[in-house]
């Protein structure tokens, strides 16, 4: 229900490419309306003005990769009534979580001139590994229609329509011809959560998992199928090691195919 007081919004950035918070600025049609119904209280990418917290809604982008950020996220949580993570970095560690699979000892010879000046955690981890998250919006990047949907749902006190089912359902609703059945592509759609608009298949490309694992993903069966159709384990492993490599289901499957 709209109330007289506009809820206060804050946007926070951790390790990320900025694309997800940029999605908010990319809502060209809605941006001014958003500003009418929500007080944009703390959004450094857009404004130098900062309104003090606490914030009714915090959008958190990026993963935790430094000791400092591991502390900062707790402060953000304390300042936020409702905390929504946006994007693959924040919900699964992002592309930078690829480091989580590396052997740190192999990294040491590559360390550059003054490594002691930089403190980085071994792993890039999602926000929910550190603090309680009220809602996670998936995607690398998030879909801006879904972002507006989450904001609308928040403002109207309803559950956002961001179904956890497969990309396939979204894909077939659009009438897109399946690239897996039809072109034998190594499509991650059947194990990936919908939300992007089943974009890749509509461009005759296989899904590469930007939205992370769907609910109850059967990654094992999909890999088996690929494997029986000649795909090498190294390639299967790489397929799951994308922008949601550290999401549980993808991580497990890639590790199983790593040998």
């Amino acid at each position: 229900m709209p109330s007289t007081r506009r809820p206060k919004l804050a946007v926070w950035k951790f390790a990320s490419c900025d694309g997800c918070q940029l999605s908010l600025l990319d809502c060209e049609d809605e941006l001014l309306q958003v500003a009418e119904v929500i007080e944009i209280a703390n959004f450094p990418e857009a404004s130098r003005a900062v309104v003090r917290g606490p914030y009714d809604l915090s959008l958190v982008e990026g993963s935790i990769t430094t000791p400092h950020d591991a502390e900062r996220i707790h402060k953000v949580r304390r300042a936020s009534k409702f905390l929504v993570t946006i994007g693959a970095c924040a919900t699964s560690g992002g592309i930078q979580a690829l480091r989580n699979f590396a052997d740190v000892n192999q990294y040491i010879p590559l360390v550059y001139a003054s490594p002691e000046t930089i403190q980085v955690l071994n792993k890039s981890t999602p926000i929910a590994d550190h603090v309680f998250v009220d809602f996670q919006l998936r995607g690398c990047p998030i879909n801006k229609r879904q972002l507006v949907e989450v904001l609308s749902a928040f403002l109207n006190g309803r559950k956002p329509n961001t179904p956890p089912h497969s990309v396939c359902i979204e894909c077939k609703r659009q009438g897109t011809v399946c690239v897996m059945g039809n072109a034998g592509a190594h499509c991650l759609g059947p194990v990936t959560q919908a939300g992007c608009g089943a974009l890749c298949p509509s461009y005759r490309r296989s899904c590469y998992g930007c939205f992370g694992p769907k609910e109850t993903p059967n990654t094992h069966s999909l890999s088996q199928w690929w494997s029986s159709h000649g795909m090498m384990n190294a390639d299967i492993c790489r397929a799951y090691r994308g922008f949601n490599a550290y999401a549980e289901a993808f991580r497990r499957e890639s590790e199983a195919r790593e040998k």
Binding site: S152, H165, K172, Q174, V177, N182, P190, W225
Partner: protein, 384 residues
Amino acid sequence: MTPRPSEWGPPFRFKPEDLESLFVVLHEQAYKIIGPTVNDDAIVLGELNSTADLPVGWTDEQSGGSYRLARHSRPEFFHFASGPHSLKQYLHPPSVCLWTASRNGHGFEIMEKVQEAGKLAFVGVRACDLHALAILDKVFKAGPLPDSSYALRRSQLLVIAVNCTSPGGTCFCESMKCGPQVDEGFDLVLTEIEDEGRHFFVGQAGSESGRTIAAKIPQEEASSTDLERVETMLNDARTRMGRRLDTSDLKKQLYRSYDHPRWEETAERCLNCGNCTMVCPTCFCNTMEDVTDLSGVRAERWRKWDSCFTTDFSYIHGGSIRSSAKSRYRQWLIHKLATWVDQFGTFGCVGCGRCITWCPVGIDLTEETAAILESNSTSTPGMK
């Protein structure tokens, strides 16, 4: 086939180049023509401007989890099996706005969305898909509270069916008694005949409007040889089904199979991605999505295709009724082949094979069902 002369017109024969005149007539009657056409490496349904848009020289090769568009050397228009699309896309669209509402003071008002439903003529409809249409009719039209938007779209439909003489690798309409011969629900049925350089169509009207349209096609009377040829080709098609399914006692057998170990095995392969339900021409399940704008002034209700393979599908407060993959696959298959019979007096499966072709990992409904039937004697009790 038992001809029904009262409705059906006399069989006639016409040249392939005169198929164009059919298109002309349909356009004259303000129909938008929907039919098979090649797009994105598949024979899909799309709007056809002329017969040039038909997939002449194209066919398909289908098997579990695989569909390949292929060239063939013959000049036929309709030499292929079911593609990824079905009439469902048009009659029960994947996403429909049912109404919009806007707030005023304490209250709000609701405005019904006027459903657009132009006159659609479907060309090249196979028997399997016509049976699927009949099933959708039962679901959406036959009950005490029919779906008005479906009924509206349905009422403006014209069906130019084609007898199927090119069943695919995953077809089993013969088992389901839904093909390959078109036997009901059409306005005009065509059989395309091509052998030894002779290429022609045999047509027959199945309704009043079909007769009117047929009359506009340059034609000659079909000879008894022509009709025999049709019969032979259909009989031949019956023997070339890529799959089969034993439907005798199927419902009872499946009702006894709820605890069959096969479900568990299938669940290990099943991706619960929902592809089978999406491509199925009869799967009608749908969900409602209530959306709002940012200001909270406008709201909309959308109806979208849904799938029983999601956990949300059976969610009630406290959790999902069907949380295991096993229970979801079981729900789908038993619904198609057993409970559907109790609900609508027919199987929910027409044997088009789409669920087999488009399952990303090639799970085969006929194979799963056979496995259950085969070992059912040892299985545990279920519903009587």
